[in-house]
């Protein structure tokens, strides 16, 4: 069809135009290194979390991140739910009890009681001012962190990121991994990070090799800790990821069959009209 030959020609022109604007020096000025794309078990249409990795990631959060950061939109019960780290209910009961939760007794007096599975992770600081006073800056809540960070892949890569077979949704975790595992490159300046916008990060290098004791034989290295905690944060941000992708497969199969049936019905109906 003539119409489409013209359109492909102009699409080429658009691409050339895009390439020209990308060559503009303005962009290059503020761009640091781009995080490297990592292999994640949860990436792709069939991706699922690695339970053991989520459990290890949670321990890294508990041993390291939790000292400053909250996880206030996650409840203890979530850790035993399907599609997550899937700790046993007794493990969750014991874990929740480690956290003191502010509550009121029957007389209406403020008390602290041991946490229960239905409780949410308590906030590390009562408010932002307290956090700032203690840390010098407000450590952000980590509940949706893996979706709240990203980086630009530029034209035309960003267009490919939405396509089946090439889909890329893991910008946030890749950024977190790069920042923690590869970002602190200046030994004499612990607040310098290659991947942080502006390079001056309020958080000093939070961990190194051997910081957390793994009991399942996984390497006790910064690289492994970072992979595990990044995966854990992805689950925390998107606890229904597995359910979503599994449902998606069923929906897609149904729709493809349905579309096929409609196509042949349409062909039959129109057979006498052309």
């Amino acid at each position: 069809m003539k119409l489409f030959r013209t359109s492909s020609l102009l699409a080429a022109a658009a691409l050339a135009f895009g390439a020209l604007t990308m060559a503009n020096p303005v962009m290059a000025a503020e761009a640091g290194p781009t995080p490297e794309r990592q292999n994640w078990s949860f990436a792709g249409p069939f991706g699922q979390f690695d339970r053991a990795q989520l459990q290890r990631g949670f321990f890294v959060y508990r041993e390291v991140c939790q000292n400053c950061h909250s996880l206030s939109r996650v409840a203890f019960r979530n850790l035993s739910e399907k599609g997550g780290p899937e700790f046993s209910e007794s493990q969750i009961k014991a874990l929740a009890a480690e956290y003191p939760i502010k509550d009121f007794n029957d007389a209406g007096e403020p008390i602290e009681r041991p946490g229960r599975p239905a409780d949410y992770f308590p906030k590390r600081y009562p408010n932002d001012d307290a956090a700032k006073a203690a840390q010098g800056a407000v450590p952000p809540d980590l509940s949706v962190m893996a979706k709240a960070r990203s980086y630009s892949r530029g034209f035309p890569l960003f267009l490919l990121d939405m396509l089946p077979g090439m889909a890329y949704q893991e910008h946030g975790v890749d950024y977190i991994y790069a920042l923690l595992a590869k970002g602190y490159t200046k030994a004499d300046d612990e607040k310098w990070n290659a991947y942080f916008p502006g390079h001056t990060i309020a958080m000093a290098k939070p961990m190194g090799d051997g910081r957390v004791d793994y009991t399942d034989g996984s390497p006790k290295t910064l690289d492994q800790y970072t992979r595990d905690v990044s995966a854990f944060l992805m689950w925390a941000a998107e606890p229904k990821l597995e359910e979503r992708k599994k449902t998606g497969l069923r929906v897609m199969l149904f729709l493809l069959v349905f579309a096929g049936l409609l196509y042949f019905t349409k062909k039959k109906v129109w057979a006498d009209a052309h």
Binding site: V26, A167, V251, A259, V269, A273
Partner: protein, 421 residues
Amino acid sequence: MSGPSTYVPKSALGRWFESRLPVMGLVHSSFIAYPTPRNLNYFWTFGAILSFMLGAQIVTGIVLAMHYTPHTAFAFASVEHIMRDVNWGWFLRYAHANGASMFFVAVYIHMFRGLYYGSYKAPREVLWILGVIIFLLMMATAFMGYVLPWGQMSFWGAKVITSLFSAIPFVGDSITTLLWGGFTVDNPTLNRFFSLHYLLPFMIAGVVVLHVWALHVVGQNNPAGVEIKNVQRDAVPFTPYATIKDSFAVVVFTIVFCWFIFYVPNYLGHSDNYIEANPLVTPSHIVPEWYFLPFYAILRAIPSKLGGVLAMFGSIAILAFLPWLDTSKVRSGAFRPVFKVLFWVFVVVCCGLGYLGAMPAEGGYVIASRILTLLYFLFFLSLPFIGWFETTKPVPATIADAVLAKSGGSVALAGAAHEKP
């Protein structure tokens, strides 16, 4: 095209009801017997796709509103509650958020189709203007909907766009205060945006009824751009021909829609909107949703604030004048060699503006935005002259001739035989 309905219900109860309220006859004449040109291509299925999207947005939106809290202190948390604790909440929210994008994908294809095939020309001017009104209502609805999750982009997007109204001389500041319900974007703003976001889709539905009504009075345009002359030869009845074709197209479109919902649900959003709104921290780079980017680029291309606002609204308002700007006697772009080239240049200009809207307003980007803004308006302003000078290709005498020329066979009349005018 449509006269008094000749439909007679089969049952006695049906005839009793029909003589008191002829609603079944209305449905019959609009969606069953209605003659549709037999040469329509798949670009004509987007009307059905858009109706489906409006329905999908209203249904998911009504359920989301049952779980959402329009208060600055709870809005962000209630959205996370929907994502984590509400049964199928993640699906509803991703369907609604991506549904807005799919709605705009479909409406842009629908509009470009109307532009290419001259669907705005007499006698379809009112039909076209109603479409422009629907587009404006869609933009307002989508903008206010994006504010509701109360993320950083919600808040700062609301701030930037509402501040535009302050550029209007004399009454600008009062309008902005009225939009805000105070002296900055705050809880009253969120409340009124929620209320209006719930109201506007039903206004869209109302204008859609007028749009479809107008369509059924003047009849559908078609790729040949000639009117139906002989219903038997040129048209097929809406049911089953258009219903089955539209159903197929809607399902194919739904596959694309579901790809976004289930596999790349955050691709079209901005990561900053997962950070709760903070009036004290301005994001380094405020960008609207992708479907507003071309207009955002036009806004920023003009060095004066008022000028930018006028250019932005003008770029949409000018669409309403298309029926009178285009002077060509030939309707379909398929037979207009000069217009055809300009049309595709215009498509590229719109995509280019979209790209520039996402880039920072500095250096070469500003210059490129200005050139493309100029080209955007030049396209419309060149239409009267092209109509006078262009040598058009021969237009088929009838729709049947157009189908014949394409298939090279004879037009069977079996399809039209169902129709008893």
